[in-house]
Symmetry: C2
Subunit: 146 residues, 2 copies
DNA sequence: TTCTATTAATTGATATATCAACGATATAAA
DNA sequence: TTTATATCGTTGATATATCAATTAATAGAA
């Protein structure tokens, strides 16, 4: 019988837990506020807001998602009339993505809440601790990316 | 136009990225080694190995999963003949979960690789850094739970 | 210019997450 | 004992992740 440490002591498990707790916290806040949106949909909105002329491959890369996932999330956001896709002149393989007027209004309305959600996780962290956790996570990523 | 920090500077985003990188790293290692198993399926195996008489609700709680997800993951593990479900005498609402002989052999075979995967992420971390990152993540979880 | 290779996006299949509804059983209350 | 409530597990619906195959369009090579 091989002996092994408990799952609770495994760092990946702790990261997974933190990630889930943060996502659930954010999702519940959206629901409580009556915003019909998921965390992943919000991230896509945010990225389009920040990069008005982004295409789907760039969107996928920067959000660590598959282009297939992006296609489906965008279908939902277009259905909700928050995002619009327009063919690009010059290269008809891809689209220009942008927020609709409704999408921009929605984004601005939700952003304040999102900012306070971001703070909640580190509410009692010193500046040094905030830097430290980012530094260590970045270091882990480097160790795991070939 | 509200100004907002870049996604790359948001801590939740960095945690999400670390989590995905760690999962992909682990999943690729399983595939390369020819092990037909997902990360989530492995976690369920590990938990049953550690707790021979666990039921599905406890399994779900300890892995931060929904009981519906556990039902479906177990269906797959049973189909692969790695796990068996036996009715419990006394309370027929739930099952006793355990690894089959094949499941135990598989677990022992894979465990060595899993241990080295766990180390890879923190390969250049000092002991103090390992403690630090666990402490800070635990602190974040407390800030975001209930 | 024509053939080939690459790129952007979509779709299908399977695994997982989450919520809600449900069935079977067990426990507590009346 | 009957009734009400709580618990364990399953299933359906929708969203997302991943991989593979496919379409449409562009770019590069012959």
């Amino acid at each position: 019988m091989p002996v092994d440490e408990k799952l609770e002591d495994v760092l990946y498990y702790l990261i997974d837990k933190t990630n889930k707790v943060a996502r659930r916290y954010s999702q519940e806040a959206f629901v409580k506020a009556g915003y019909d949106i998921t965390v992943d949909q919000w991230l896509v909105l945010k990225k389009i807001w920040d990069n008005k002329e982004i295409n789907q491959v760039e969107l996928a890369t920067s959000l660590f998602k598959d282009t297939a996932s992006i296609t489906r999330i965008l279908q939902i956001l277009v259905r909700k009339k928050l995002v619009k896709k327009e063919s690009k002149e010059g290269d008809r393989r891809h689209y220009l993505l942008s927020l609709t007027t409704k999408g921009e209004q929605f984004f601005k309305q939700v952003l304040g809440m999102v900012k306070s959600m971001r703070m909640q996780g580190v509410i009692d962290f010193s500046e040094a601790e905030k830097e430290q956790i980012k530094r260590l996570l970045t270091k882990m990523i480097k160790n795991l990316e070939e």
